[in-house]
Symmetry: C2
Subunit: 494 residues, 2 copies
């Protein structure tokens, strides 16, 4: 047999793909379908599957097979697949089981307590648990760093954004900090004069669902390969062959559910258009969290909050909810592009959002590198919040450094993906615009084909063929360049 | 550690329980939720899980552990659990893999061809494949017989109805044949004078669903531990902690969906009331197909087709569908108890149904024992159909011996479970009636507690504590006695 080691590795990862299929559907079901009393048995079944997956990924024979496969006669795709197998294998094997367990326990305890401590504004109580989480995350980062030759923080970030380094982020965020605060101030001054008419509800859940389904159809979602359901926290789940989106309905407002569905549809189309012939192998998996987010933000921010798209969507709102003054396209556009600095990241608009991310990055990177300690966080937070967004957070831990779940769960290195995603999206749209000079006119009439064709050719079909920086270079002809994001914001909000 | 072998076995079966949880939810999802393009990936994931389950059940170390556990100090429940483990283990291990595969292939080929051959009335085409299925099923039966000391047919039937033997079935069905044909004739003569008003549709699916949910509630279904959804072929799926019922809606008639939902609710309450402390172990599994069917038929036939229940349900029909003459309780009762001999088993009423089963049993038993050959089936079918139901099936293979999927798939020994279930149900209700003399009056006012309490104490809570004949004896104070079934039919249809 040709390439016996590589072939055997493909079999193992195909088996993992199938186990993960089961785990993914069970997870979707837990969130979208399962009644309360199913929880304990489901948790046990999911844990059993995760244990099986872990045993499979840490099978001792993989080390030798991965080594031997390096010497086999592989083509480019196979070599990329082998690289991704090794990434996945390293992820599972770099850390001793005792550390994985200790970190998982500490994180679970810290996150559980955080759920009440946040409401009580109890930073000191949080700190007691959080010190352990940071200590173990640093140990983890050190072991990953030893294994990969990266710095500690880079080693953590590499799991979410392969190939992107803190040096890149420093350069990019450093640039953004030069112009973002002034831009925010200018937009606020300008929007101070805008009159925005609020839509008047109620908007029945059934009508919102019908609207969402129609928009998903227009955005190319394949309903033979996926579904839209409801869950408390909207997400994109399922498997590439059967993508399960969820949303939730608030009858007082349709905006959250509509924009959320458009956002998740971006994730879904990436999954639905991954190359079928690579599925079941690591090279066929969607590339990185930042690239995934670039798809949801291409749909939600670049496309759906444009003036052209609001013109397209206005008649659909009237069709599903009846006519009202707020559905005037210009008014809708003002509604969907309002900018207001605030304390809470998840409520932030597209302009102020990056400031929230920069702040977190500038705290978590030195924290992991050992340059600051957990007790230094509040003062840094207050200072950066004042500088970046002009907000006073002193003493308000609840809406400050206690607001996110990420750190309590020990997920350091993830935050940059959010803003990288927004920047990639702007860079994709700049490229699409170069390729299709009449893009806005086509969006205005509901012809989104230029967007979908470009994304399919340059992102969706590439799956994990390249590391993130190579993908960005090949797709857009240049490295990640925050000037596109800036130009997008300047144009839309100037 | 006390009982180390037994303890280790419990761990293995707990793992199997969790793998089966995953398999069961995936199966439910495939039928109730999955869009078309999800099929191939799902089939691969389900097959991978089944292979894993098979590897776990055939782990060579189990043989010695089962042997050693026999000598450990087990209590009664543990000993029953060990008995059920051995049954499950024997099921997976008694047959050589080559035979399992050959039979599975032959059955798949025969069943696949049957789907078109049935429509073409093509008995001879069917026979070509069916000979192989029978040959392999006899081999399988012989190996199971060698292993267990039972006869061939008993060995097959024991997988569905543990402890019940052909000698029991011969006695029971022999008795039924003495009185059933005359009863059918008498009921037909009597019902010839009945005037039945048909309900007039359409009955919107949403209203049918609301009615079904209300009836499920009244029948004690726990919606915190289960759901009602739709599928092409209604079934009870999921897991005991989270039971998933399905139905389908035909807007021309609500009867099929309503009675189907009541039927599945009987299955569901068994699952929802299995003793929680035994779940995850074989002793905690619902006992046998016949006993399971006795629960669905207790709900659908004994309870829901009674005159008292139609009185209870009539106002609910009016509530959900509006008023109409057909909803008069006496008319509803006539509608739900109409008897009409026909060719097709799945369309048969409660009185003629056993004749269909007896006919199949009297063919499949000698077929497996080698007393008749596949080519003898049509003549036997014609003859028995004439004797038992007065129907002429000569030359009509389509609506005769080609109508069921069971034989083409090699599932011999299953058919008796259907009628055993109906008989157990009649026997349970006779016992309930002895314990609760005013049962009918209580059913008439929607008080079903005496039924549920008796079933819970005597059947649901017993799970697989006993083999079927012991369970019947303990629950009702006597062995399976077809006189109760006869008395039930005589009373309802006299």
């Amino acid at each position: 047999m040709q390439n016996p080691n590589y072939t055997e590795l493909c079999r193992t990862w195909q088996r993992l793909y199938r186990y993960n299929h089961a785990a993914s559907i069970l997870g979707w079901d837990r969130n979208a379908m399962m009644p309360a009393k199913g929880n304990d048995a489901r948790a046990a079944a999911e844990a059993e599957l995760q244990a099986l997956i872990h045993r499979t990924r840490t099978d001792p024979k993989l080390a030798e097979q991965l080594r031997a496969a390096e010497g086999e006669a592989l083509d480019d795709i196979e070599r990329a697949n082998l690289r991704e197998m090794r990434r996945d294998w390293r992820d599972a094997n770099a850390l001793p089981e005792a550390l994985v367990e200790a970190k998982s326990l500490a994180a679970a305890q810290c996150e559980h307590a955080w759920r009440t401590q946040r409401g009580n504004n109890d930073w000191n109580g949080f700190l007691d648990n959080f010190r352990d989480v940071v200590r173990l995350a640093r140990e983890e980062a050190q072991l990953l760093a030893d294994d990969s030759g990266l710095s500690r923080y880079d080693a953590l970030m590499d799991r979410y954004e392969p190939g992107v380094r803190a040096a890149d982020i420093d350069r990019i965020f450093g640039d953004v900090k030069q112009w973002l605060p002034q831009l925010i101030a200018r937009v606020q001054a300008k929007q101070g004069n805008d009159r925005v008419t609020e839509p008047v509800g109620p908007f029945p859940a059934a009508a919102q669902r019908a609207l969402n389904l129609e928009i998903m159809q227009q955005l190319g979602f394949d309903f033979d390969g996926g579904r839209l359901d409801e869950s408390a926290h909207p997400f994109t789940g399922g498997v590439p062959e059967d993508v399960r989106l969820t949303t939730r309905y608030n009858e007082d407002s349709f905006v959250q559910s509509l924009m959320g569905t458009i956002h998740e549809t971006g994730h879904a189309r990436f999954e639905q258009n991954l190359p079928r012939e690579w599925l079941s192998q690591p090279v066929g998996v969607a590339r990185s969290y930042g690239i995934h987010e670039s798809q949801s933000l291409s749909f939600e921010m670049q496309l759906a909050r444009s003036r052209e798209f609001t013109g397209f969507i206005a008649p659909l709102l009237t069709k599903h909810f009846g006519s009202q003054p707020a559905f005037d396209p210009d008014n809708l556009y003002r509604l969907l592009t309002r900018v207001k600095p605030g304390l809470i990241r998840v409520n932030a608009d597209e302009v102020t959002y990056p400031a929230h991310i920069i702040l977190r990055y500038e705290i978590e990177r030195p924290l992991i590198e050992g340059e600051i300690e957990p007790e230094d966080i509040p003062a840094l937070w207050d200072d950066k919040m004042q500088t970046l967004l002009g907000q006073d957070t002193r003493g308000n831990f609840k809406d400050g450094c206690l607001q996110d779940v990420h750190w309590s769960g020990g997920a350091f290195g993830y935050f940059p993906s959010y803003t990288l995603g927004a920047m990639y999206a702007a860079q994709w749209f700049a490229a699409i615009r170069r390729a299709t000079p009449d893009l806005d006119a086509r969006i205005a009439v509901g012809d989104f084909a230029p967007v979908f064709e470009w994304l399919k050719a340059n992102v969706w079909s590439q799956a994990s063929r390249w590391q993130t920086p190579e993908l960005v270079q090949k797709a857009s002809g240049e490295a990640l360049n925050p000037a596109h994001f800036r130009a997008h914001l300047e144009k839309r909000y100037r």
